[in-house]
């Protein structure tokens, strides 16, 4: 990703990853589909395409079919009585969508989801960059520090949420600690401040991801670049700002996209932190969709909401898919 720009000047077919050792291996390999029929290489004969079947069948049955089913369900009048015989449930067209937009907390949820994701991202970006810059150069104990920085990332989401839920109880450790310095915040897990609780815990959990990607960007900085800026006598801030940060643009753009997708899709954190039904200030999209299905049993309405959130997610997803070079090893499919 970091070397994205350099790829664009290469011929698409031969664009081996920008790393010397691989160029030899990749030359002439993986022709695009257009080249396929012309080239009768070894790999053209007797292709074991059947190996795609097990994974393909699974993904079609468990992902593609339910996806279509979900879209169909969004035009049905589906509740706990009609669910069992959903095939014969009455079709009500766009009514679910109309209700979702005009007469449900959906728009509020969209606003919450987007603003919470952005807020968390705005804070985690500088934290992650600072951490990466601080641990880039070798010093005693760096390996340990790096492992420590990864802890929030490694811990399962449900553990993180459970722990913070305990710490944020009224009269719990956080309240006690803040009280000793004279700060009284009030309720964390109920009422209007829950939104900020969610943002804070999300920040704690997800800055190491930015850190990881920023670190990978820093490692693509050549030694000569450091030498040059040292010769020029650049001050540390100028060196960071004008020499180092441009290298981080690619990885951080990717981190931004994946991070936003992850925040918007995050169900576990708000679910475990606040339980359901959640306070209305943290009723983000995944929680709202879940509650509408499994607490209010308005399955059709929930399917419509899910469809609308898919459209919302499609925007960053589309940008992400466009950015990924499918035939290059360069772009991570990083997740989680």
């Amino acid at each position: 990703m970091s070397t994205d720009a350099s790829h664009e000047v290469r011929p698409a077919v031969e664009s081996a990853a920008g790393r010397a050792p691989r160029t030899a291996n990749d030359a002439g390999q993986q022709p695009g589909p257009k080249d396929g029929p012309r080239r009768k290489g070894l790999s053209e004969r007797n292709r074991p395409l059947w190996m795609l079947i097990p994974g393909g069948v699974l993904m079609i049955i468990i992902i593609v079919v339910p996806l279509l089913l979900g879209i169909y369900m969004s035009i049905l009048n589906l509740d706990q009585y009609t669910l069992r015989k959903w095939v014969s449930a009455p079709i009500i067209g766009v009514e679910n969508f109309v209700e979702a937009v005009t007469n449900s907390p959906l728009l509020h949820a969209v606003w919450l989801s987007v603003s919470y994701s952005l807020l968390a991202m705005v804070v985690t970006l500088p934290l992650g960059i600072a951490a990466a810059v601080a641990t880039q150069n070798a010093f005693k104990g760096r390996a340990l520090i790096r492992s420590v920085f990864l802890i929030p990332y490694v811990l399962p989401s449900f553990v993180v949420a459970t722990v913070w839920r305990t710490m944020l109880q009224p009269g719990g450790i956080v309240d006690e600690a803040l009280a000793t310095v004279g700060i009284h915040v009030g309720l964390w897990l109920n009422g209007p401040q829950t939104f900020w609780t969610l943002v804070l815990v999300q920040i704690w959990a997800s800055w190491p991801f930015i850190y990881l990607l920023a670190l990978s960007g820093l490692q693509s900085v050549d030694h000569e670049v450091h030498e040059a800026s040292a010769l020029d006598g650049a001050l540390w801030w100028n060196k960071l700002r004008y020499v180092i940060f441009p290298y981080l643009k690619g990885p951080l753009a990717l981190a931004f996209l994946i991070g936003m997708l992850h925040h918007i899709n995050n169900f576990t954190l708000p679910f475990v932190l606040f339980g359901v039904p959640a306070p209305s200030d943290v009723e983000v999209l995944p929680i709202l969709t879940y509650v509408t299905s499994f607490q209010s049993f308005r399955f059709g309405l929930s399917a419509a909401m899910a469809f609308i959130s898919l459209v919302l997610i499609a925007i960053p997803l589309f940008v992400y898919l466009r950015a990924v070079k499918l035939d290059d090893a360069d772009t991570p499919g990083a997740k989680k």
């Binding site: 811990l155 710490m167 030498e227 399917a303």
Partner: protein, 307 residues
């Protein structure tokens, strides 16, 4: 990562630039010393204080945790012996290990063969499949949980196959949702393997399967481990599907952990101490996996960006 460092060592000016030498340090320096220390201390404390608190709370009494004690007034290890029986965490952990473990193994196996075909052979629709893999891994679980639930309950109604409430339902679901990412990890990994070995094997008369089993598999263990571990984590960390599709006897650790806090609706103090102990136990397998395979995993995460 190591490649970059090695590259630096062999830079033209290597004689003065031994890593660790003073001059080298000055050239590579990005931050003034005091700022560096401030950042490290701040972020270290941000992470370590809550982590330390989990340990301390797990040996504290429920009342101690509820009153916001950082240092326990009375240390007890009873929590660690009680968690196994009080809410069925043992069952949950067994189920989690079974489901996530088998998901990891099967998904790794499937993704190797799928990725092998996608990387080494060209055919119509190959790029669409690659793009589809990337798109599918971003489909949110909350979108899928209801239709998958309906699909599974229809399987019970029309085909007589009971899936919901069993470990099989979770296994199939996790396996499928792990496949796109696991396959993508393997695709990136296999691209880095030299093709010549496989071609040589083919010239010597090896079949496609022979190439896969004798050449590709032995060479791609690091990739297989990464893709398996990510599948394991997907199953282990999931709350959404597990909370909808399990019964008490098939629930996973993630669901069981929530029950420790559930008693608070009654007004009494929840099993806070046990909950923290159980949280540590649930986190342990994941942390251990990371510690063992850290090098591979971090590389796999930023797949390609680092190497």
């Amino acid at each position: 990562m190591s490649a970059t460092i090695a590259g630096r060592r062999s830079a033209p000016t290597a004689d003065v630039d031994r890593p660790g030498s003073h001059r080298q340090h000055e050239v590579l320096r990005l931050l003034p010393g005091p700022l560096l220390v401030i950042i490290l201390v701040f972020l270290g404390a941000l992470v370590l204080i809550p982590v330390l608190y989990i340990f301390l709370a797990s040996v504290n009494s429920d009342i101690g945790v509820a009153n916001g004690e950082f240092w326990p007034s009375s240390v007890t290890f009873e929590n660690y012996s009680k968690i196994w029986t009080s809410v069925g965490l043992a069952t949950g952990l067994t189920n989690s290990v079974l489901v996530a473990g088998s998901t990891a193994v099967v998904s790794a196996a499937l993704s190797v063969s799928t990725a092998f075909v996608l990387v080494r052979y060209s055919f119509r629709g190959r790029l669409s499949i690659l793009r589809g893999l990337l798109a599918l891994q971003s489909v949110p679980g909350t979108l899928m949980v209801l239709p998958v639930f309906v699909l599974f309950s229809s399987a019970a109604t029309y085909l007589g196959i009971q899936v919901i409430g069993t470990q099989w339902g979770l296994f199939v679901t996790y396996l499928t949702f792990a496949m796109p990412f696991s396959t993508w990890v393997m695709v990136t990994y296999l691209r880095g393997l030299p093709k010549e070995l496989e071609e040589a094997a083919k010239i010597d008369g090896a079949s496609n399967l022979g190439v896969l089993f004798r050449i590709v598999l032995p060479l791609s263990w690091p990739g297989i481990v990464v893709s398996g571990i990510f599948a394991f984590l997907l199953g282990w960390n999931d709350v959404l599907f597990a909370s909808v599709m399990t019964r008490p006897e098939s629930q996973t650790a993630a669901v069981a952990l929530q029950i420790f806090g559930a008693s608070q609706e009654g007004g009494a103090i929840p099993y806070y101490g046990q909950m923290m102990a159980a949280a540590l136990v649930c986190a342990a397998p994941v942390v251990i996996l990371y510690l063992i395979f850290q090098r591979y995993l971090v590389g796999g995460l930023t797949a390609g960006g680092v190497k």
